[in-house]
């Protein structure tokens, strides 16, 4: 800024009035679902176009239409439903058992001095182990049947659930629990009406992580020793160089992941309407 001397001091040169610039642009992305859908459709069309133009070797990467036809054939033959039903059954059972156990232990770690240090030390030691590495051990322990698959899923889901639940309890404002105590609420009432709803956002956000982990472990476990299930189907198709069915299986897994995420989103909207 130019300055000029006036009298005994320095004064700023008067400047003409000008608009104050807006400086807070950016850093605020918004969701545009249509743009997301258009991107996916565009990629699929590009893939199909490249295949039709002969620019892709369709033996290794079949075009979307061929994958669609393979999928339709699987639906008609009932093979898709048989495999999907087997996978869903394992997923539901393994995830539910691991989640239920994780929530119970998470509550114990979050609320009990007796359980906190031992629980946290065990979780810290076992959580980093890649659970896929444990599949052979589970097969030795529980056999090649359903037991080892459910153990892999349950074990994989258990630890993140414990961590999320305990962290949710730690983050719950203690003032709310003191309020319950100050109003003479019983311990079960405090657990049920204050702690459980308060920790629900953390548990539900954990569900998103554990459901993805469960799908990954499900496929891995089914690839090691299963006759039915999407993982077994994909492996079998790969062994036969049947890339159309292989990719049809992968599309089903993707749809499964999207469906689970959608269901969890609805559950969150319903249970956390207060947010």
């Amino acid at each position: 800024m130019r300055r000029r001397r006036r009298g005994s001091g320095w004064l700023a040169e008067p400047l003409p009035a000008r608009p104050v610039p807006f400086r807070a642009r950016g850093f605020a992305p918004t969701n545009r679902p249509l743009a997301g859908a258009a991107t996916l459709i565009g990629l699929v069309l590009l893939w199909q176009g490249l295949a039709m133009a002969g620019l892709i070797d369709t033996r290794f990467l079949p075009p979307p239409l061929a994958i669609g036809r393979a999928l339709a054939a699987l639906v008609r033959s009932g093979e898709l439903w048989r495999n999907l039903a087997a996978s869903l059954q394992r997923l539901a059972l393994g995830w539910s058992v691991g989640t239920a156990a994780g929530i119970v232990v998470g509550f114990a770690v979050g609320l009990s001095t007796l359980a906190r240090s031992p629980g946290l030390s065990v979780v810290s030691a076992l959580f980093p182990i890649p659970k896929i590495a444990l599949v052979p051990l589970f097969i030795i322990w529980f056999g090649i049947g359903e037991g080892s698959k459910l153990a892999t899923l349950g074990f994989g889901v258990f630890f993140p659930t414990v961590i999320n639940t305990a962290a949710g309890i730690d983050a719950l404002p203690r003032g709310l629990i003191r309020m319950g105590q100050a109003f003479g609420l019983s311990r079960p009432a405090i657990l049920l009406k204050i702690v459980l709803p308060g920790v629900m956002p953390a548990i539900l956000s954990g569900f998103r992580v554990t459901s993805s982990i469960a799908i990954i472990l499900l496929v891995a476990a089914e690839m090691i020793g299963a006759e039915q299930g999407i993982g077994a189907f994909v492996l079998q198709a790969g062994n036969l160089y049947d890339t159309e069915n292989l990719l049809a299986g992968i599309v089903v897994l993707s749809a499964l992941g999207l469906t689970v995420a959608w269901v969890l989103g609805r559950l969150e909207r319903w249970l956390l309407a207060w947010r």
Binding site: G180, A182, F183, G184, L185, G198, W274, R275
Partner: protein
């Protein structure tokens, strides 16, 4: 509102957090149906004493006793109103107010009592609102409605207006004065605000800086309902209180900056 008539006695209460002495030899009486206000510099242990009276903090030594009849419909004799409201964000206004009544009153009685206190605190239209949809002043009304719903024998108010803006504070202070005067419930009220102290208190206990001791207990004879913000006697009393705690408040402020 309440047929309870309890006197709270604080006897030789001393408290320390590990090695830090917070309260020393506190003797106080909150007579039945009166408002005892606790004032003093920051960190003098006022809120700790309220926690001890509420049974939420175990004193290092000394005891708190409660004497006098408690009405049959009183569900929680010593009932707090929190500075930060302590509302459950996942419950509606009515749900928050109903919380301490659940399992203690039949559903119909519970609904009637919730409706009654919501009307009393001007919240009837907001019964189904979530706490996040309310202003600070409205949230504190919910806190008060919840406290009144249990028909307390003694209200324990920990700086209930300090989280609010100045205008809301003034409005709610007038309502508090009317409500407390009408209800006649024994009340222990912690505040930094000396204007609140002289508007609401039958007695004002002045605490020294940490470790808090009771320096003096002032009696205010004028009925609460007749007190006005521009009353010269109250203004003089407020000034007198400030003279008493000014040096300690300045020392406590320096302590916070240095410490």
């Amino acid at each position: 509102m309440s047929a309870s008539h309890v006197t709270i006695r604080v006897e030789r209460v001393t408290h320390r957090y590990d090695a830090l002495p917070v309260l020393e030899g506190i003797d106080l009486v909150a007579p039945a149906g009166q408002v005892l206000v606790l004032v003093g510099p920051s960190g003098c242990g006022k809120s700790t004493l309220l926690g001890i009276i509420a049974g939420l903090i175990e004193p290092s030594s000394g005891q708190v006793t409660m004497e006098g009849p408690i009405a049959a419909d009183c569900l929680n004799p010593l009932t707090p109103v929190f500075q930060e409201f302590a509302l459950l964000p996942w419950r509606s206004v009515a749900g928050n107010v109903a919380l301490p009544l659940e399992g203690r009153l039949p559903a119909a009685d519970r609904r009637a009592r919730v409706a009654e206190v919501l009307a009393l605190t001007g919240l009837s239209e907001f019964a189904t609102a979530w706490p996040r949809q309310l202003s600070g002043g409205m949230r504190q009304r919910v806190g008060i409605a919840r406290a009144l719903a249990v028909r307390p024998a003694c209200l324990l108010m920990d700086e209930p207006l300090s989280a609010l803006d100045a205008q809301t504070r003034t409005l709610l202070l007038d309502e508090f004065a009317a409500l407390i005067g009408r209800a006649g419930t024994t009340t222990i009220y912690v505040t930094h605000n000396l204007n609140e102290a002289v508007r609401l208190g039958h007695q004002v206990a002045v605490f020294s800086r940490r470790p808090g001791r009771v320096r003096q207990v002032l009696q205010i004879e004028q009925p609460i309902a007749e007190r006005h913000p521009d009353d010269p006697a109250l203004i003089a009393l407020e000034r007198q209180l400030w003279e008493m705690i000014r040096d300690d408040a300045a020392a406590a402020a320096r302590e916070r900056v240095v410490g």
